[in-house]
Amino acid sequence: MSDKTTTPREITFRVRRFDPDVDTAPHWSEYRQHVHDGMTVLEALHQLKAEQEPTLSWRSSCRMGVCGSCGMFVNDLPQLACQTQVLHLGTDVVTIAPLPNYDNVKDLVPDLAPLIEKHAAVKPYIIYLDQIEIDSPTGEFIQTPDQREEFSQFTHCIKCGLCLAACPTVATDPLFLGPQALAQAYRYTADNRDCGMKERISAIDIFHGPYQCHLAGACSQACPKGVDPAFGIQLLKRALVLDSIGFGKKKPSVAKIMPLADVVKAIEEFAPPPRTV
């Protein structure tokens, strides 16, 4: 008996099509295509476009799971097309639709504006209260591996939006900030160089914030980078509760310890040896 996940064969692709200039509602189109072992959904789409359907639209860029552009609903699961091998899906019919929980721009292109807006709303950057130090830094902050570990996994987010597509709460409550933004809020709040909880509270400590999470965990399952945003939301809740009872982080837990002059000296000290050829 042949293994369905490796045997090259003809696969039927059911692709949801929608052209706002022509269509009033989305419809499904079917294409037959030969698929070889190792071929990704993204490669299959490129081949489809080249050989059968030149008007088919989707968004993609890096082809290696870094840019997060090619998120699609493949066989009813949000996945990156560039990381999903067609034969590994194990079905003779592969359905491809745009990510749910987003408006559809065209064919497989979702409108990711809500993702970006929610991400921006939580101020996803380090907030340090000394503006003079920010404008004219006099030294560098130190961060130990343990301090980095507090939030390390959340820095791997590539903003692909799969977690929002998988989230059952976003499906019913479009105003819910969602796992991506909330995990990023935690990522910066937990950073020992940050003291921006006060500035983020108006954006995150709201009804549509972390307490709306139903703990389904679908976001963590969908994340192509192995981030656990559902866990991030729970950690954010803990940080918010501690802050609300006065045990929150008041200032960065480290001070600048290395003046810039010493940094330059250290760099010179550990510089590579001069070139010999």
């Binding site: 019913t172 409550d173 479009p174 400590d205 009804f207 914030g209 918010l240 509760v241």
Partner: protein
């Protein structure tokens, strides 16, 4: 008010409800065990009025009412506000839930106080 505080209270009242509800069960449903009277006797009007005259009973039921109302209405508000709605409508839901809660609390407190101050001998 910060959502964190509302949510924290929602969780904090759970142990309070468990304790007070336990006392309520002991008084109303396990009267033969705790008070040595039959359930029917524990539930008849005269016994209830007599029991209602104790300050501890007054405090118990007003606290139970407040805790259960807060917990229940916070959950109900969460369910309703999860439906697609504008922020303005969300605000209206919040205000309505607060008003309903205050009304039920006022009514429940009135009934408990009425029992507490019911004249001896009817």
């Amino acid at each position: 008010m910060r959502e964190t505080r509302l949510w924290s209270w929602h969780l904090l009242v759970i142990p309070i409800i468990i304790v007070l509800l336990g006392l309520h069960f002991a008084i109303m449903h396990y009267a033969p065990v705790f008070y040595g009277v039959s359930v029917e006797e524990a539930r008849n009007f005269e016994t209830m009025i007599e029991r209602g005259k104790s300050v501890s009973q007054l405090v118990l039921y007003i606290l139970l009412l407040a805790a259960a109302l807060y917990h229940g209405l916070y959950g109900l508000r969460g369910i309703i506000r999860e439906l697609p709605m504008t922020p303005a409508l969300g605000k209206i839901v919040d205000i309505t839930v607060i008003c309903v809660g205050l009304f039920i609390f006022a009514f429940g407190t009135y009934v408990t106080w009425w029992t507490f101050s019911y004249p001896v001998g009817g």
